[in-house]
Amino acid sequence: MEGVLFEDIRVFLPRYLNPEHQDKLLEAVRQFPNIKQFYLLNKYEDELLQGDGWRGFVAINFHNGDRKKVSGLVLSNSCDIDVKNPRDGDPNIIFAPLIRVSRFKQILIEAGKSEAAATDKIDTIRRQCITSIFYLPELPHVLEESMAILDDLHQHPLSDFHASEKAKLFTLDQFAFYLFLLKLSIHFTRFNEALPRYSEQPTAVT
C-alpha cells in the first residue's frame, strides 16, 4: 500500500526536473518549513517569470486614482507574460505589491497591538500559515523580509512595464516556487473544501 501511495505522489512531481534536481526538490520538501534556499541566484535575471519580484510596477489607488511606483510579486503565469509568445492585444501583469514585514509590525504597534501580539502575528506569517499572505524572507542587499497580500492585486500592462524603468529583485527557487503555487492554489481555489455544487442530490446511477 505504501509503495502505491509513493508512486501516486511521484507521478505528480514535475517531469522536467532531471534526477539530480528531483532529489534536490525532495530534500527541500523534507526540510519544510525550514527552507535553506528561497531565491534562485544569478539565473533568469532578465526574464519575467511567475513568482518574481520586480521593482517598477505602478499601483493605482481605486478610491482616489493616485498612482505609486512599487515593488511587486508577479502572479501571472510566465507564458502569458512572455514577450516571445505571439498574442493579440497587450496582456496585463497581475502583481501583488510587496510590503516590508518591519513596516507591518510597526503599524500593528501604532494601532495599539502589544509587541508580543505583533510578533505572534509575524511568526504566523513567517510559517506561511496565513491564507492570504505569501511570506518572503530577507534577500541580503536586495530585499528586506517582506510579504505579498494575495487579495490585494493590481495589474500593469505588459508593454508599458517593459518600456518603463524597472529592476528584477528576485526569482523564486524551485521549492519556494512550489510553495507559492500551493498558496495561490489554496487561496484562490480552496478545492480541498470539497463543496458540492448541485441543486439537489444526484440520482444514483444503476
Binding site: E2, L5, F6, E7, D8, I9, R10, V11, F12, L13, P14, R15, Y16, L17, P19, H21, Q22, L26, V29, R30, F32, L40, K43, Y44, L49, Q50, N61, D66, K68, V70, N77, S78, C79, D82, N85, P97, I99, R103, F104, I107, L108, A111, K113, C129, I130, S132, D152, L172, D173, Q174, Y178, L179, L181, L182, K183, S185, I186, N192, A194, P196
Partner: protein
Amino acid sequence: MNILSPTTILSSAGNTRGLYTLVGATLMAASIIPSGIERAAQIPAHKSQLTFGHKKPAFTADTFQLTKVDQGSGNAELIEALYSVYDILAKRQTDLDIETRGILHSRLWDLYE
C-alpha cells in the same frame, strides 16, 4: 489514474489515501501551471505544452517517465515529508483576525513602496 477528476478530489477528504492523493493533485497543479519552467538551469523560452479546456490531458506514470528514488525504506519518510507540506499549507491555513486585517487593509497604500 484520473487524479484531477472532481470525483477524486471531492472524495479525497475522507481517508488517508485521499489526503495523499490531494497532495499529489496539488503538486500536479503546481507543476503544470508554469508549463515546465525548471528553476535550476537555463532553458529555452517556455511555451505552453499542455492543452487546457474541456478535454482532460491524459497523464499517466508512463507520460512522466519518472526516475525512482528513495524506494523501499525511504518511502515512508518521503510520503511523510510531502504530507507535511500539505498539512501546513492547507490544513493549518488561517485567516488574519478581523482586527489585524482591518489595520492592514486600512494602511495598505502607505505600506506600498
